[in-house]
C-alpha cells in the first residue's frame, strides 16, 4: 500500500497549455522515487501539487492525489492543509531564499512544531538541537541563534533538511535540493539526505534533472517529458535497460566522469520529435474523449 498515490493528475495554466498530462505514480512508505526530466517537464509541479502550493496561475483539471488513502483534492482546503502539514515536508531548491531572513534559525525550526503541532517549547528546542547534530552541524547552539545570512549555502541546506525531518513526516518532497550548491557540497548533502531518509524511514519524492543523483539516492523513477510520464520503473531496471527511447537518450546524454574524452551526447532530434509526437497524440486522444463524453 503506497503512502502517496497520484492518479491521472492533469494540471494546466489557466486558459493555457497543459503542464501535467494524466500523471500517475506511487511512493511506498520508506521508498525514494526520483522525478526526472528536463526544465519545464513538470517535475516540480508534481511536488507542488502534492503539497498544495501550486501557484495561483495554474489549476488542477482532473485526477486524484491520495495521501495515505485519502484524496486530498476532494477534501475541504483546511482539512487537506492540516493533513499535509501533519505528514509532509518540503526540502526546497534554493537554500538562499528558503529561510526567512528576519528570523533566527531556532524559531524557524521550532515555531511550527509549537504553534501548529502543539509541542512544548522545551521539547521543540531539544529536538532542534538533536536534528542539527544529526545533520553534522558542529555548534548547534550557536547556529540556532544565528540569522540565515550569517551562514553558508551548504549550512543552510543542512538546516532545511533538519527542519524537514523535524516533525517526523511520512513523506518529504525534495525539490532539486542540490542544484543551487557546488559539486563538493552536493555530494555531502546527497549522502546526508539519503542517510536521514534511511534512518527515519521516510518516503521521499526526489525531484532532479541529474540521473547521477537518481542512481545514488532513488529506488523508483519516473521520467517526464512535457508533463507526460514516459517511463516508470525501478532504478535498477532503468539503468540496465531503459524502455522508452527518450529516457534511453537521456541516460546516454549523462556525461561519464570516468571517460572524459567520450564527449557530450545530446538527446538526438529524432528522439525529441518522436516524444513530441507522442505528447501530441496523447492530447488528441484526450480531446476526442472529451468530445464523445460531451
Amino acid at each position: 500500500m503506497s503512502f502517496l498515490a497520484i492518479r491521472n493528475l492533469s494540471v494546466r495554466l489557466k486558459n493555457g497549455p497543459a503542464l501535467l498530462r494524466r500523471v500517475s505514480l506511487d511512493v511506498a512508505p520508506g521508498e525514494v522515487r526520483g522525478l526526472v526530466g528536463e526544465s519545464g517537464a513538470g517535475k516540480s509541479m508534481i511536488g507542488k501539487a502534492v503539497l498544495g502550493i501550486l501557484p495561483p496561475s495554474v489549476q488542477i483539471t482532473e485526477g486524484e492525489i491520495l495521501l495515505d488513502g485519502t484524496d486530498l483534492l476532494s477534501l475541504p482546503a483546511k482539512e487537506s492543509r492540516r493533513r499535509i502539514g501533519a505528514s509532509c515536508a518540503l526540502i526546497p531548491q534554493d537554500p538562499l531564499t528558503a529561510l526567512n531572513p528576519s528570523h533566527r534559525i531556532g524559531p524557524q525550526i521550532t515555531d511550527r512544531l509549537v504553534d501548529i503541532l502543539g509541542w512544548t517549547r522545551a521539547a521543540a528546542d531539544a529536538r532542534a538541537r538533536d536534528l542539527l547534530t544529526e545533520v553534522q552541524i558542529a555548534d548547534p547552539a550557536r547556529v540556532l541563534r544565528s540569522y540565515p545570512h550569517e551562514l553558508s549555502g551548504g549550512m543552510r541546506q543542512r538546516i532545511l533538511i533538519a527542519s524537514a525531518f523535524a516533525a517526523e513526516p511520512k513523506l518529504i518532497v525534495a525539490d532539486e535540493p542540490t542544484t543551487a550548491l557546488d559539486v563538493t557540497v552536493q555530494k555531502q548533502i546527497l549522502r546526508l539526505i539519503a542517510g536521514m531518509q534511511a534512518r527515519h524511514g521516510t518516503a521521499l519524492l526526489f525531484v532532479t534533472h541529474d540521473l547521477g543523483v537518481v542512481s545514488k539516492v532513488c529506488q523508483q523513477l519516473s521520467v517526464l517529458y512535457s508533463g507526460l510520464v514516459v517511463e516508470d520503473s525501478t532504478v535498477a531496471d532503468f539503468f540496465a535497460s531503459p524502455r522508452h527511447p527518450y529516457s534511453a537518450a537521456l541516460l546516454a546524454a549523462t556525461p561519464k566522469y570516468t571517460d572524459p574524452d567520450a564527449g557530450l551526447h545530446p538527446v538526438p532530434d529524432a528522439v525529441i520529435d518522436a516524444v513530441r509526437a507522442e505528447v501530441a497524440a496523447f492530447d488528441r486522444t484526450l480531446a476526442k474523449g472529451v468530445k464523445t463524453h460531451g
Binding site: L51, R81, G85, A98, P101, H103, R112, D115, I116
Partner: protein, 277 residues
C-alpha cells in the same frame, strides 16, 4: 568608514528631531515672547547680529512686530503633530492595504489595485484643496487630507514588496507546514517588509510637514493667527525686500526637518534590515 558615516547621519538627524520635539513640547515656556503679541513700533526688527537692533528679539520680528523665534518654536508643534499623526495613519492604512493586496493576490489585489489606480488619477493638490474646502480649514482636515491623498504611496510599494517576498521558498515551507494565510502574512511577510515601511514612514513624515506648509501658504491651514511655518513663509514673502528674515528662518527650520526625517529613515533602514546589518 561607510559604517561610521551612516551612524553619523542617523545621529545628526535624530538629534535635530529630538531638539524639535523638545521645542514643540516646551514652546510656551521657552519662547522669549508671546508668538501672537503685536507691536507695530517694533515691526521688522532685523536679527541679533545686525547693528542697531532691539535686544531680546534673536531672529527679529515680522511686519506686525511679532517675534520670529517664538513663532518658529510654536510652529514646530503644528509641524510635528501633522508629521506624526498624519504620517502614522497614512502608513497604517496604506501598508495594510498593500500587504493584503500583495500577499493574498486574487480578487483582493484586483479591488485594491483598481482603487489605487482610480485614486491616483485625481490631481493631489486640487483634491486636498477641495477636501479642506468641504471639511473647513482645521488641523484635523489637514491630517485627513494627507492621509486620503498619500495612502496609495504606501499601498503600492508595500504591495510590490509583499509580492516579491510571497514568491520566496520560506513562504511555501510555512504553507506546507500548515500555517494559515493570515498567520503566514503576519509572521513571514510582515517582518521582511517592515524595513521598507519604516523608510517610507519617515519620508512620509517629511512630506506631511511640506504639505502642511503648502496648505498654510495658500491659507488653507489653521487660522492665520496661529503660527505655522508655511503661514510664516507666506507672510514673509510679501515683505521679502524689507525683512528677508521673516521668510528665511522658518524656511530653514522646514528644510532641516524634512531632511532629518528622510535621513533618519535611511539610517534606520541600515539598522533594521537583518541582511544589511
Amino acid at each position: 568608514m561607510l559604517r561610521r558615516r551612516a551612524g553619523l547621519r542617523l545621529w545628526l538627524s535624530a538629534l535635530w528631531l529630538a531638539a524639535l520635539v523638545l521645542a514643540a513640547l516646551l514652546a510656551p515656556w521657552i519662547s522669549p515672547r508671546d508668538p501672537l503679541t503685536q507691536d507695530l513700533f517694533l515691526a521688522r526688527l532685523p536679527p541679533f547680529w545686525v547693528a542697531g537692533t532691539e535686544p531680546g528679539y534673536l531672529l527679529g520680528t515680522d511686519s506686525l512686530g511679532r517675534d520670529v523665534l517664538s513663532r518658529i518654536l510654536h510652529g514646530a508643534r503644528v509641524a510635528l503633530l501633522v508629521a506624526l499623526v498624519a504620517g502614522g495613519i497614512t502608513c497604517l492604512i496604506g501598508a495594510t492595504f498593500g500587504l493584503l493586496a500583495g500577499f493574498l493576490r486574487g480578487w483582493v489585489d484586483m479591488v485594491i489595485s483598481r482603487l489605487i489606480d482610480i485614486w491616483m488619477a485625481f490631481p493631489p493638490v486640487l483634491f486636498s484643496i477641495l477636501l479642506i474646502a468641504v471639511l473647513g480649514p482645521s488641523l484635523t482636515s489637514i491630517i485627513i487630507a494627507i492621509v486620503v491623498i498619500d495612502w496609495t504611496r504606501f499601498a503600492r510599494v508595500v504591495r510590490a514588496e509583499a509580492m516579491a517576498q510571497g514568491a520566496m521558498d520560506y513562504v511555501a515551507s510555512a504553507r506546507v507546514a500548515g500555517r494559515g494565510r493570515i498567520g503566514t502574512m503576519l509572521r513571514e511577510i510582515l517582518p521582511n517588509v517592515l524595513p521598507t515601511v519604516v523608510v517610507l514612514l519617515t519620508l512620509e513624515m517629511g512630506i506631511a510637514v511640506i504639505v502642511e506648509a503648502i496648505l498654510s501658504f495658500v491659507n488653507l491651514s489653521i487660522s492665520t493667527d496661529d503660527p505655522t511655518w508655511g503661514g510664516m513663509i507666506s507672510e514673509g514673502r510679501t515683505s521679502i525686500y524689507q525683512a528677508w528674515w521673516v521668510l528665511v528662518f522658518p524656511l530653514i527650520a522646514l528644510f532641516l526637518t524634512v531632511l532629518a526625517f528622510s535621513q533618519l529613515g535611511e539610517g534606520l533602514k541600515d539598522r533594521f534590515d537583518p541582511v544589511l546589518r
